[in-house]
């Protein structure tokens, strides 16, 4: 799994990992069912940033950076910089706690590194196949019984 290679990527973390930090709802909507115990940290400032967070597309890292899957490295860098100018806490003033920027940063960290990006792309394909497998795999005698 790509998380093994790109340990710097929070977004790429396996969802089973335990986190003492409240992800404050916004992530839970996507990483739904297996959401691990998250207990609120005293630093959490409530949900007032949720509105800005919603504007960040969840899903693939490409969606976080708002680029195509085929984007070149230059396009990724440009997208990262323009998003940084919008979402970096320095640009947003005191209203930001930096969570959105961390997510952008993590997406950039993976996609700007050719090896990590290749692994991530493979995992996307893998993820799609797994979903496919769960929903549509025809259960035949051989696959169910003979192994």
């Amino acid at each position: 799994m790509y998380a093994a290679l790109s340990s710097s990527s929070l977004a790429a973390k396996p969802i089973s990992s335990f986190s003492p930090i409240s992800r404050r709802g916004k992530a839970e909507t996507v990483r739904s069912s297996v959401q691990t115990p998250s207990f609120k940290s005293a630093t959490a400032k409530g949900n007032k940033n949720a509105a800005t967070a919603v504007t960040l597309a969840r899903g693939s890292l490409y969606e976080v950076l708002r680029v195509e899957r085929t984007a070149s490295l230059n396009e990724i860098k440009t997208a990262y910089r323009s998003l940084a100018k919008m979402y970096h806490p320095d640009a947003m003033g005191s209203s930001s706690d930096g969570r959105d920027f961390i997510e952008i940063q993590n997406a950039y960290a993976t996609l700007s590194d050719p090896t990590a990006r290749a692994m991530y792309d493979m995992s996307l394909v893998g993820r799609a196949r797994r979903v496919w497998a769960r929903v549509y795999t025809p259960r035949t005698w051989e696959t169910d019984q003979c192994w």
């Binding site: 799994m1 998380a3 093994a4 710097s8 929070l10 396996p14 990992s17 335990f18 986190s19 003492p20 930090i21 691990t36 115990p37 207990f39 940290s41 005293a42 630093t43 230059n74 860098k77 440009t78 910089r81 323009s82 940084a84 100018k85 970096h88 806490p89 320095d90 640009a91 003033g93 930001s96 706690d97 930096g98 920027f101 961390i102 940063q105 960290a109």
Partner: protein
């Protein structure tokens, strides 16, 4: 360890008139308190401007003399002669001493300064004193810094005709978070609020980003990404950064730094000229101080001259019957300081390596700071980077100008011409982690992680039925835990008695937008979704001044009974 509070209320503060006029956001000033010189700059609405003192100086000496009842600093004070600095009454080089304990080699190297730096070598703060009327009057680095910060503030207030509250300060890369708290303390003593603490080369990086934007504006540059190495060496510190710049965004890819500077070059030369000088100065009598001062002035002068000429005649009468009369050439100076230059070279290589940047990728190499005038420094940077040195910056003003730009940007000022459409994406200069796996330092947020940042690692217990674990937080790069900077420690209690390796102890580190570090630790047992004990959340650093012995005391008291090991994640 109480220290006298030193605050001077701003004169402008009490007049209602000035308060009402400040309806627009207050622009934070940029301050560079260097080991040897300090300066102030501010965004004046269209560009960055350096402020001058009453003697028309933009760069002022960083020192405080205690000869009268009221101490005075280099901003307001006028020295009748350079030697006045070395009478024992003047304290300087405080940036090298602030936040260090008396076991630190940098503190020991400061013992031959012409005032009193006394150590007990047990990990407490050193005793620093100035000689006033044959009395050693004690002071602290924070107090000395605060005194000239007050002078800088008053100078800025007079010129800008408004009260000054907010500052952006440039700081060395190698400063620990504990040292940063000492700088903040000095600012608070001076009635200043620290808006940002910027590693010096990142301030230079911001200035570079602005210059590149300006060139595009003038249709002279291309908008493509530019990678620059910034080498900043002053009297006290050598600091480096690799920055990737485009569209006014300075993205710091790597930082490197060391407490290596002009002061070390000077001390090596002093030792070279008078081999027994250190032992000679141990007594710290009035005559020894005078002798130290004479040697220091002569050596400093010689080093300056060697930047422009091949050899220099040194002729100094030390007054105790000995006289140094010698011609020193540049090769000799370079040989005497070979270890310093090698250190500089290794820092460049390390910084490029950490940034994953090849020499061929570099667009520019920027050399700033007082030591940038030394030919050997320029040569070695050119030699490693294989390109000519960038010419668009004043080496002594770049850092303070960058700090002033950040001051304007962070104060929310915008410029109609887009000159302030800038952003610095900072990285952590040092790794932050905890003591685990025996006596190892296990980083949780590695060096050069983009900030704000949040990372976590999972640990477990080393003993069966271990109900408590000690979380000892360090900052640094060394594998042995105690060789790093101690930031703080706390204990998690009440873990249910289970075999070793069973509890999952999650340690999370969070650096927020204002560079505040929080450490969170929680315990979870297999099969449970809920934490076994309440989560601990601790703001770091928690250590106080004389913290050098704390880690040792913890180790002596608890051994490995409260230890942790990392858990290899199952993929």
């Amino acid at each position: 360890m109480a220290e006298p509070a030193y605050t001077v209320a701003s004169d402008g503060e009490t007049t209602g008139e000035e308060k009402s006029s400040s309806s627009f956001p207050e622009i934070a000033i940029g301050v560079d308190i260097g080991t040897s010189q300090c300066s102030v700059a501010v965004w004046n609405g269209s560009q960055v401007e350096l402020l001058k003192n009453t003697r028309n100086q933009k760069l002022m000496r960083s020192y405080v003399t205690f000869k009268d009842e009221i101490p005075s600093g280099g901003v307001s004070n006028q020295l009748s002669h350079e030697h006045e600095l070395f009478s024992g009454a003047a304290i300087f080089n405080m940036k090298r001493l602030v936040g260090r304990v008396d076991t630190d080699p940098v503190v020991h190297a400061s013992k031959n300064l012409p005032f009193l730096v006394q150590t007990l070598d047990i990990g407490v703060r050193p005793f620093i004193a100035a000689l006033v009327n044959n009395v050693w009057r004690s002071t602290t680095p924070e107090e000395v810094l605060a005194i000239f910060l007050v002078e800088l503030r008053v100078m800025a207030e007079v010129q800008l005709k408004r009260p000054i509250r907010n500052v952006v300060l440039s700081i060395p890369v190698s400063f620990s978070r504990f040292q940063l708290t000492r700088i903040q303390r000095a600012c608070a003593m001076a009635g200043l609020h620290v808006l940002r603490l910027m590693p010096e080369p990142t301030a230079v990086a911001l200035l570079y980003a602005q210059q590149q934007q300006q060139m595009i504006h003038d249709n002279m540059g291309s908008g493509s990404e530019k990678i620059a190495l910034i080498f900043n060496m002053g009297a006290g510190y050598c600091d480096l950064a690799v920055t990737a710049t485009a569209g006014g965004v300075a993205q710091i890819k790597a930082l490197a730094g060391s407490a290596t500077g002009g002061e070390d070059l000077l001390q090596n030369m002093m030792r070279h000229l008078l081999p027994d000088s250190e032992n000679l100065f141990l007594g710290h009598g009035i005559n020894e101080i005078k002798l130290m001062g004479l040697l220091r002035v002569a050596t400093q002068d010689a080093i300056h001259k060697l930047s422009s000429q091949d050899n220099v005649q040194i002729d100094v009468d030390l007054g105790n019957g000995s006289r140094i009369c010698k011609v020193v050439n540049r090769e000799e100076f370079e040989e005497v300081n070979r270890n310093i230059f090698e250190k500089c070279e290794s820092l460049i290589i390390q910084c490029l390596h950490d940034a994953k940047v090849e020499v061929d990728d570099l667009t520019d190499v920027i050399v700033v700071g007082g030591c940038s005038y030394i030919p050997k420094i320029r040569d070695l940077v050119k030699h490693v980077c294989k390109i000519e040195v960038y010419k668009g910056m004043n080496p002594l003003e770049a850092a303070v100008c960058g700090a002033a730009l950040e001051g304007a940007v962070a104060s929310g000022i915008s410029d109609p011409f887009g000159s302030l459409d800038l952003l610095t994406i900072q990285a952590t200069p040092l790794g932050i982690g905890i003591r685990a796996n025996g006596n190892r330092f296990v980083p949780i947020i590695p060096r050069n992680t983009t900030m704000p940042a949040r990372k976590e690692l999972i640990f477990t217990t080393v003993n069966d039925n271990q109900t408590e674990v000690l979380i000892v937080v360090y900052e640094g790069e060394t594998e042995k835990a105690e060789e790093n900077h101690l930031l703080g420690y706390f204990k998690i209690m009440g873990i249910p008695p289970v075999p070793k390796g069973v509890p999952e102890i999650n340690v999370c580190m969070d650096i927020d937008a204002s560079n505040v570090l929080r450490v969170l630790a929680g315990v979870i047992l297999p099969g449970s979704q809920q934490p076994a004990v309440p989560v601990m959340e601790v703001r770091m650093p928690t250590v106080d001044d004389g913290h050098g012995w704390c880690a040792e005391a913890l180790h002596r008291s608890y051994g490995s009974t409260l230890d942790l090991v990392t858990v290899q994640k199952k993929i």
